[in-house]
Amino acid sequence: MWHSATVRTSLGFVALAIACLLVADFQISAHDPWAELGRLFLGLAQPNFSAVDYLGEAIVRTLAFAFVGVGLGAAAGLLLALVFHHRAVRTTCAFIRAIHELFWALIFLQFFGLHPLTGVLAIAIPYAGIFAKVYAEILDESDPQPAQVIPHGTGVVSALAYTRFSQAWPHLATYTAYRLECGLRSSAVLGFVGMPTLGFYLESSFAQGQYTTVGALLLLFYALIATLRLWARPRLLPFYLLAAPFLLGEGLPIRWQSVSRFFTEDIVPEPLRQGEGLAGLMPWLGDLLANEALPGIWNTLLLTQIALVATGLLTLMLYPLVSQHFTGRHAAGRVRGALGHGVLVILRSTPEYLLAFILLQLWGPSMLPAVVALAIHNGGIIGHLVGQRSNAITLRADAPRGIERYAFELTPRLYGPFLALLFYRWEIIMRETAILGILGIATLGFYVDSAIQEIRFDRAMVLIVITALLNIGVDILARHLRNRLRLRHTASCEP
């Protein structure tokens, strides 16, 4: 067992995380969190649906942004997937998906302002990068034979439609449906920066400590995600897609001169704008790298590595909740399965930011709340996917039960897909470290946010590019590890 590359790699990650733990600062320092937390949980338990002005509108907008964003992303991704073998396309896609939706939104907010286009593009662009990669992988795995036997002279489009697309269709559809759920979460989160979705009201009422409203908004959001399979039927999708663009709201008119100003002024480094030339640029860049980028990279990496392993451990504990091999298939099993499903929906749909606040109240500021918040959120997502994967496994009738079934039957068989998923999630966990400024942890995302709050887009852009490069680096490393361990990276396991 110890000779297996998979085991050695896993242990390597655990050892690295432990080493990170030694240098990271973990401490527990809160004194009396229960007054505030008591109010919070009481509020969540007594949701008040009447407290938000435009609740119906917020739900419609959340759905509309998700559908238009994911729709555009999927369409663009499909086109890009066809030319994915070009290095330039691959690099561009890697770059655009390495930037978090929130950062895209903050960038577009600079020049499109509060116009629906800001929210739509913030989802569509990174999603196009992800779709392109995954669609390309799915299409690559389809059998090349039909393409070789169709008559010479068949048009490119019909050839594709009748060969690779028709084979890959079920996989493409499953994956796109999964991304729709992600799109809903992204759409809600865009409310944090001002799009009129559920997140807008969630952030306001949470900031004000109006927890009964927070409870109502969260419940609605959970319900939306948990019932996705019921209302997002393939037959209804064209209807939703057609309706969605009309339901985005009108926002404020775009001033096109802001767009050119953004590119010709805002993102030009300050010394160049002041006419100081290269002589001024170097100290500016040096200062930015030494004081923000390097400490930011260090904290980001520490937090990411610890959170990654914590996510893995939590996933292994959570997946049985939604695995039929543990919940059972009959009536009682269905109820248990639905409960497990509900728990995972709550874990993965509660914004990390809210989790971080609760844990901060409990434990005081350090990396601990950040690690646990990230692990809960991502463990909820991967646990759900591993659980689904386990349902495709057929066990012998006399297979052992309980802990033996877990340790000797299922977990070993699921370990490959589990690792593959975790590696996919690696760069995502890294992107998510951005949002934890409340904990006083200066990750790269923290500095990006600071630069944006100070309205210094020249600095923000440099830091965003560094963040994107770091993400691309992790992505390459993850792919290398997947190949070395021969983990099938079929697209259906991409989170």
Partner: protein
């Protein structure tokens, strides 16, 4: 299915752009009150209605999430009037030549920041910014806030001669004043700095336990929130429009409108009154 999908998308894109072109320009304003950011639309619609009546133009309120977003919307001419914080007002006026501060709240002429401490720190009420604070944990409010970030950082640097990151073992940004109060009250952070009106309102509302958290220092006064208008509104909405807006703001005396800010009334102010904020912003390298 695929065809339907592409058709849907083909309709979607032009629509998105088209909607941005159809513009019968109303007069748009935004506001970020220092507390209670909920039900903004409902509360500020009343203010919009009041302004529309006084100015005889169509007035629209647009909610935003952060000071930076407010400044950007103002700069991009998506909003023409904004209720800014001290710092964001300076940022906005620097970026939009000709824009001017019209009015501030009565309370804003002499604004303060309170430094608060959890009882476990052993710091007494009115202790001041003392050496004993070194190596404690500390939280600001939001990064772009005048009373939650700019002025407290200024006074901390003055007292300790160092950046807050050097003085304290950890420096966080709670996001807003109410959360600063709750994080220090629970002891999650030992120290915090916040807007004095928020503190006093929370105190009066009974949300703060006087035993667990104390005000250890009150800063000297400085100017804060103000209404700022773009310089080009006279050209768009008629000669003397900015002055009429100022008049309408100064005459706003309906408590139902004023409580949204929350202020007891508005008084005239001009750009020069915020010079002190600009200087501090430059010192702290937040302004260029």
């Amino acid at each position: 299915m695929l065809r339907l999908l592409s058709r849907a998308l083909a309709t979607a894109l032009p629509l998105l752009f088209a909607s941005s072109l159809a513009a019968a320009d109303p007069f748009v304003f935004t506001a970020i009150p220092d507390e209670d950011e909920t039900r903004l639309q409902e509360r500020f619609q009343k203010v919009a209605d009041y302004l529309a009546e006084e100015l005889e133009v169509e007035v629209r309120f647009v909610p935003v999430k952060s000071y930076a977003a407010a400044v950007t919307a103002f700069r991009n001419d998506q909003v023409q009037l904004a209720w800014f914080g001290g710092l964001s007002g300076v940022q906005a006026r620097e970026r939009v030549p000709g824009s001017r501060a019209l009015a501030q709240g009565v309370e804003d002429a002499e604004f303060r920041t309170y430094f608060i401490a959890h009882e476990s720190t052993g710091l007494e009420e009115g202790a001041g910014l003392v050496e004993a604070m070194r190596d404690m944990t500390f939280t600001f409010g939001s990064k772009g806030s005048t009373s939650g970030r700019l002025m407290p950082e200024h006074y901390l640097r003055e007292a300790f001669g160092e950046a807050p990151e050097e003085v304290f073992s950890r420096v966080g940004f709670s996001g807003n004043h109410s959360r600063t109060a709750s994080l220090v009250a629970s002891g999650a952070y030992q120290l915090g700095a916040l807007n004095y009106t928020v503190w006093e309102n929370e105190f009066e509302a009974g949300n703060i336990d006087a035993d667990s958290v104390k005000v250890v220092w009150k800063t000297p006064t400085y100017p804060d929130y103000q209404w700022t208008i773009r310089g080009d509104v006279d050209g768009r909405f008629g000669e003397g429009f900015a002055d009429r807006v100022q008049q309408a703001l100064l005459e706003m005396d309906d408590p139902a409108l004023l409580e949204s800010f929350p202020r007891s009334g508005f008084i005239p102010v001009d750009n020069a009154d915020y010079e002190v904020i600009r200087q501090v912003g430059q010192q702290l390298d937040i302004l260029e």
